[in-house]
């Protein structure tokens, strides 16, 4: 049974239970500094580069300035400028530059009884059924929505006002997905409720309950369509279990983020063991967007750190169906990966190999990636990082390689067969930090094509005290 589409409901359940109980496989999402790859969220254009801003914090009284340029041979360079500040309760960030997908900004300050802000919006209510959903059906939380997320996402643009400790009452007005929305969310103890409405009179409501490590949410619209999700987590020492179940109407789509509405029905289990000998993370998930369109995924990751000699991580993953509500269903995929990292004497080396196949044990590979990364630490804060990657991606498949720029993480879309070398140099300079990168792609038979031209970036960042 290679595809969820071909499967009868009974056999689909059997396979799903087998996946859940057996934890057949697994590739957990790698860290942003991994030599591997991530996948962009569903609202991103498939097969195109995707850029996201890390959500690092700025100390009180600090200001950060940055100037950058990027380009490739034969193309006019793209300049970017940015400023971030935080002082006496006033904080914000602004980016600008022609063609910069992260251009824009946000500013927030103290206001009577709370805080107010304008600009980029990426809120999260409850489990995210209406606002702040996870990008993937198997993920418990969004990594670019809500406070504390590692990345600053962009769900919309507008203004917000929060009252009370930790935002007991929140109102927002903004433009989300070409739609003007207004909403309010209030929380009293473990209970939260929110309403979201647009100019056309469409409205959705959310009722959530958070107690300890359990969180539940019910969302519904005026047509009576609803979705509910319950998430539980239990832990005993280094061992933790998490479960998540969702159900409801397939027709309910978030007004703010319709492309992140996710599946109408989902069941996910996660097991984590942070034992002294290593770390184990097993995930299993089943989901269904609509009849005939759903998927399943199981993943297992085992990582072990060694006292003096780095760390080793291996993983297995199996997927069925599709993780997207629209687009082509890729069917069965099974693969594995391994990554070793070590560092000694100012030299750090990371080696990684992963394969994903359309048949069992990674056979009929649709995606193969081999990568090596070398980092050398020099004197006075200088450093050199060289990453080389060789890949083979079958037609119709996408691969996104991670690039860590000084002010953003770029998921670079590649396809076909090729290799890529990225050289990054950092050094203190002009009162700040200078980072330069040169990327040299190698695509067989395409030496003169645009994709094969070298790409470069240059960035200067200075962080200072504002008073």
């Amino acid at each position: 049974m290679r595809s969820a589409r071909r499967r009868s409901p009974a056999s689909a359940c059997a396979v799903g239970l087998a996946l859940l109980l057996g934890a057949v496989a697994a590739r957990a999402q790698p860290a942003p500094d991994s030599t591997g790859y991530l996948e962009p969220p569903p609202e991103a254009v498939e097969g195109a580069d995707y850029e996201v801003e890390p959500a690092d914090t700025l100390a009180e009284g600090a200001i950060e300035l940055g100037v950058g340029a990027a380009g490739r041979a034969g193309v006019r360079p793209r300049q970017t400028r940015r400023v971030r500040f935080s002082d006496r309760g006033l904080g914000g960030s602004v980016r600008e530059g022609p063609g910069d997908p992260l251009a824009g900004g946000s500013i927030e300050t103290t206001a009577p009884a709370g805080r107010v802000g304008v600009g980029r919006l990426a809120p999260r209510w409850g489990r995210g059924l209406l606002l702040g959903a996870a990008a993937e059906p198997w993920s418990a939380g969004a990594n670019d929505r809500g406070a504390g997320a590692p990345f600053r996402g962009r769900a919309g643009q507008g203004a917000w006002y929060r009252v009370g400790e930790r935002g007991a009452v929140e109102t927002l007005f903004g433009r989300f997905e070409r739609r003007d929305l207004a909403g309010g969310h209030a929380r009293a103890g473990p209970v939260g409720c929110g309403i979201l409405a647009d100019r056309a009179g469409h409205a959705q409501a959310s009722l959530s309950l958070a107690r300890g490590r359990a969180e539940h949410e019910l969302a519904l619209d005026r047509a009576g369509r609803w979705r509910a999700e319950a998430a539980l987590e239990r832990s005993a020492g280094p061992v933790a279990w998490a479960a998540r179940v969702r159900g409801g109407s397939a027709g309910l789509r978030s007004l703010a983020e319709p492309q992140r509405s996710g599946p109408a029905r989902a069941l996910a289990l996660e097991f984590r063991d942070g034992a002294a000998w290593g770390r184990v993370n097993a995930q299993a998930a089943l989901w269904r967007f609509a009849p005939g369109r759903g998927g399943a995924r199981a993943a297992l990751e085992v990582a072990r750190g060694f006292l003096q000699h780095g760390s080793l991580a291996v993983g297995l993953e199996e997927r069925h169906g599709t993780p997207r509500e629209t687009g082509r269903s890729r069917g069965f995929r099974q693969g594995g990966w391994g990554e070793w990292r070590g560092a000694a004497g100012g030299i750090a080396l990371a080696l990684r190999h992963e394969v994903l196949g359309a048949e069992r044990l990674g056979r009929s590979a649709v995606r193969t990636v081999t990568a090596a990364r070398l980092e050398l630490a020099g004197p006075a804060g200088t450093g050199l990082r060289v990453t080389h990657c060789a890949y083979r991606v079958r037609s119709g498949e996408s691969l996104y390689l991670i690039e860590n720029a000084s002010d953003r993480v770029i998921l670079r879309a590649v396809t076909g067969t090729g290799r890529r070398t990225r050289v990054e140099v950092r050094a203190p300079g002009a009162g700040g930090r200078i980072e330069a990168a040169l990327e040299v792609p190698g695509i067989p038979g395409a030496r003169s094509s645009e994709a094969a031209r070298p790409r470069w970036t240059l960035d200067w960042t200075r962080r200072a005290r504002s008073r």
């Binding site: 070590g342 090596a372 290799r419």
Partner: protein, 269 residues
């Protein structure tokens, strides 16, 4: 012309998709590309060939002769000198392949740093046709490749490495395409084993494995490669800083490759 010989190799490639030996002008007569770990020998040309700097410091001079696939007209003559001082490593070499009217000359330079627990190096090779057609531009008769390598001690006796001999190329394409190679070598006293995996250039990846055994001044090794399955063996003797090595590799379609090497080493620490 180098193109003629490269074409010969390409024909060989058609006969056997994995004709790549993973080495070119400065191929060492040493067991695998391991960074001088365990029972392997710190051949000066290994640094130039792979970008992996030797663990030990000191000076070395290697001259070698390689007859590829039993073809007298396809011989490579190379001389490499290497110097290591503290953690710095430098190697330079010259090589000629083929007859005066058909063949190419190559010059290589490698530099890097190495400590007992790890090392990293940068290597560059420039090649020029010995007999280029009249009017040919420099880009039509010469080429350059730049790459790097790094290794790290992952555990006691275990070295892991990555070598990218051709991160960047310009001008005439090198005779053989050499992709990213990952490897591991485990040394147990006088015994060493190694595995390598080269990223696919064609349909699938290339793998190699070998074992080396030291007995006094003698070092013997055997290795095997896939696509197609083939193998070889080597023997090296070292005495008073003088090193003599020979390697024979057999290919089911292309014949035998024989490599002889004579080296001097001194001041190693």
């Amino acid at each position: 012309m180098r193109a003629v010989l490269a074409a010969a190799l390409a024909v060989a490639g058609l006969l056997a998709p994995a004709a790549r030996a993973g080495s070119q002008d400065f191929a060492p007569a040493a067991p695998g590309p391991a960074p001088a770990g365990g029972a392997s020998v710190a051949a000066a040309d290994a640094f130039l060939e792979s970008g992996l700097p030797p663990r030990r410091a000191g000076a070395a001079l290697d001259v070698s002769l390689t007859r590829w696939y039993g073809l007298p007209e396809l011989e490579t003559r190379a001389a490499v000198c290497a110097v290591g001082w503290r953690s710095l490593r430098v190697a330079a070499g010259l090589a000629q392949t083929g007859e005066p009217d058909v063949g190419w000359s190559a010059a290589g330079l490698a530099c890097g740093v190495a400590r007992p627990e790890g090392g990293a190096g940068l290597r560059a090779i420039g090649r020029r046709d010995r007999a280029a057609p009249a009017g040919a531009t420099l880009a039509e008769r010469a080429g350059v490749e730049v790459g790097w390598g790094a290794w790290l001690r992952a555990a006691r006796g275990l070295d892991l490495w990555a070598a990218v001999p051709q991160s960047w190329t310009a001008g005439v394409a090198p005779p053989l395409e050499r992709p990213l190679e990952l490897g591991a070598a485990l040394a147990l006293d006088d015994l060493a084993v190694w595995l390598t995996r080269a990223a696919p250039v064609g349909d699938a990846a290339d793998h190699a494995a070998g074992v080396a055994l030291r007995s006094g001044p003698l070092l013997a090794w055997a290795f095997a490669r896939d696509r197609p399955l083939r193998g070889g063996c080597g023997l090296a003797a070292t005495t008073r800083g003088l090193r003599l090595a020979a390697v024979v590799e057999s290919h089911p379609d292309l014949g035998e490759t024989v490599r002889l090497s004579l080296g001097l080493a001194g001041g190693a620490r």
